[in-house]
């Protein structure tokens, strides 16, 4: 009989552990300090203005929210699609999904003009608002994934894991669709008005989520000395490759559709050719660092066998993801709205002009604070509850495992 996977909380007493948690905590505190500055002074201290309405905080928040639902994918593959190999990976996946949604929401909520009125967002709901749908979807996600974790950890509830996993999976699709639709339903702006944004956000969530998960898993196993077999890494990195390819496809289709209609030519020209920073971020950040290079790494014959390179590929997907959010969110606003087609327009309110945006340190601080919160939550949670398997060795994880190496070693000893 195959050995069973055991989970345990990490020891978490070392200086390194507290150092790590302290570092995350420090960034979180710095982020909250930035919030204090922003809220005390008003948004005039930020780079945001009446043209760039949503700035860097939204880049981080949207990235984290869609990544959160993507992280849950690993668990969904086990419970919904019945892949046994992914089962031991599920608990951490669900935990990080909650942590990243929490971090993303923190950023989103603290960037509000009146975060003190947050409760109003729950007590007054406009049923027609996509944002309000999201406000309902977020707590639903916490509840569903929370219950999912409970069902996985509580032996008596184990048999319902499939059902709750399915529910959480459907919920996460709704959540990402909702997040994508926040932008996709904005008919006024050339850069947003596309139904393809919602499915594109779902595919992006797959990619970002898996990259974050794989990187965190490798770090966790390495720093806690738990074995992580090649078969797990290989499967996850291959899956990452598929997701990157799918993201590539969606980016291609998105811009192809846009390019086809003459009305969007100037917007496409702005993003793809002469948008300055946005064009650079698109080609170098989003396409180069976020798609082409990591795709090359995960399918490269030798690089793809190196954990270091796989880690770099994951980091690239994450960096490219942030760049893609910047291009979509900020670029979509910087490009002037077409209010009077056929005319060259000018005014004191930025009509007809590319809006400029210089993010402030406070916005960056808030965004990084959100990521720090997610990582701190994860780090702390794996210390107090058994989220991480004791071992993810090939022996446990690979159905075709044959202890080939040991045989060789024996043979060598014999020869000696």
């Amino acid at each position: 009989m195959k050995p069973v996977v055991h989970y345990s909380a990490i020891e978490g007493r070392s200086l390194a552990f507290w150092g790590l948690l302290g570092t995350f905590g420090l960034f979180l505190v710095l982020g909250l300090g930035a919030v204090w500055v922003m809220e005390h002074n008003g948004h005039h201290v930020t780079g945001m203005n009446n043209q760039i309405i949503w700035g860097l905080p939204h880049v981080f928040a949207v990235f984290m929210i869609i990544a959160a639902s993507g992280i849950l994918n690993v668990a969904s593959i086990a419970s919904v699609f019945g892949k046994k190999m992914y089962k031991p990976l599920s608990r951490l996946s669900a935990l990080m999904a909650i942590a990243f949604l929490g971090g993303g929401l923190m950023v989103l909520m603290l960037d509000l003009g009146r975060p003190d009125r947050l409760v109003i967002a729950a007590t007054y709901l406009n049923p027609k608002s996509v944002f309000a749908w999201n406000i309902l979807l977020y707590p639903g996600f916490f509840a569903a994934v929370g219950a999912y974790i409970w069902f996985m950890m509580e032996r008596r509830m184990n048999r319902y894991t499939h059902q709750i996993g399915l529910f959480a999976f459907v919920w996460r699709l709704l959540l990402t669709t909702g997040t994508g639709s926040i932008f996709g339903f904005v008919v006024a702006r050339n850069g947003y008005d596309a139904a393809v944004l919602a499915p594109m956000f779902i595919i992006m969530s797959f990619g970002f989520g898996l990259a974050i998960y794989l990187l965190s898993l490798m770090a966790t196993c390495r720093w806690t000395g738990r074995e992580l077999g090649d078969s797990v890494v290989r499967q996850l990195k291959n899956l990452l490759g598929v997701f990157i390819a799918a993201m590539f496809y969606f980016v291609f289709v998105f811009h192809l559709t846009s390019l086809y209609g003459t009305e969007n030519h100037s917007f496409e020209n702005f993003i793809l050719v002469d948008g300055g920073l946005f064009t650079q971020l698109f080609w170098i950040g989003w396409v180069g660092v976020g798609l082409v290079l990591p795709l090359a790494i995960v399918y490269h014959p030798s690089m793809s066998k190196s954990r270091a390179w796989i880690g770099i590929a994951c980091a690239m997907v994450i960096a490219g993801g942030l760049a893609s959010m910047y291009v979509i969110i900020i670029g979509g606003q910087a490009f002037p709205m077409s209010i009077f087609p056929g005319f060259e327009v000018s005014s004191s309110f930025g009509d007809g002009q590319i809006a400029s945006y210089a993010p402030s340190i406070w916005e960056l601080g808030l965004g990084i604070g959100g990521i720090a919160l997610a990582l701190a939550m994860t780090t702390f949670a794996i210390k107090v509850l058994p989220f991480v398997p004791d071992s993810l060795s090939d022996e446990l994880m690979d159905p075709h495992y044959t202890p080939a190496k040991e045989v060789e070693v024996e043979a060598e000893t014999d020869a000696a």
């Binding site: 809220e39 002074n41 008003g42 948004h43 005039h44 930020t46 945001m48 203005n49 009446n50 043209q51 760039i52 309405i53 949503w54 509000l112 003009g113 009146r114 975060p115 009125r117 947050l118 109003i120 967002a121 007054y124 709901l125 406009n126 027609k128 608002s129 996509v130 944002f131 309000a132 406000i135 926040i182 339903f185 904005v186 008919v187 006024a188 702006r189 947003y192 606003q333 709205m337 209010i339 009077f340 056929g342 005319f343 060259e344 327009v345 000018s346 005014s347 004191s348 309110f349 930025g350 009509d351 809006a355 400029s356």
Partner: protein, 253 residues
Amino acid sequence: MNEQKIDQYRRDFFTKATATAATGVIAPGVMLMQVGQAQARPLDQAASNKNRWGLLIDSNKCADGCSDCVKACESENAWGSGSTDEQKSDAGQKAQWIRTVTLKNKLTSKEHQLPMMCQHCEQPPCVDVCPTGASFKRADGIVLVDKHICIGCRYCMMACPYKARSFIHEDLHDQSPDVPRGKGTVESCTLCVHKIDRGDGTTACAEACTHQAILFGDLNDPNSTISIEMKKHATTQIRADLNLNTGVRYRGI
């Protein structure tokens, strides 16, 4: 500074008005404007959907370089030059309820200008997207922000096809009692709702336009000047493709 100007203006007004009254002459050839289109509604009566307030803006009459409507709005609603606030905000962060937009024909280079403000749509995208319902449309068609429940998410600004809305980026202290506005909330043209409720029957911009380019009135009343004018002349909505049925209509774009 500003108050001095106002006082000066008031003095001028009274002198001239008295002079006119004393001579008792209304110069011939001056067209009489229809007054009292909007009777004052009793204070305790709610705005009703029998009215739909709107503006008809004739960009042919709008004089190049003139910004009287903007100035009037600023002083009436206490933003921009009408208030001592928003000193810390940079140019892109300062509120603008109304602006003049210059349109240049790409083919002929012919330029003309027109004032832009909240278009008071019948189907306002800002109202659709607002998560709390702070963005709302009054029964008489005026689109407003309820700043008591606005959380400052700025989604309405993202959704507005006219860029009509502004966000307040800092603390304010110099508001008009009739026009509350404050940090962290979104605002836009109110169609001088306080003046309408008071029965002024006009807006500050319409009142101040010396070229009669802005006409205020009730789109639901077939006998109002605005309705009559709109029946007589071809008018357009900005971004009519969005099918929002705006309350602000234009001639001569």
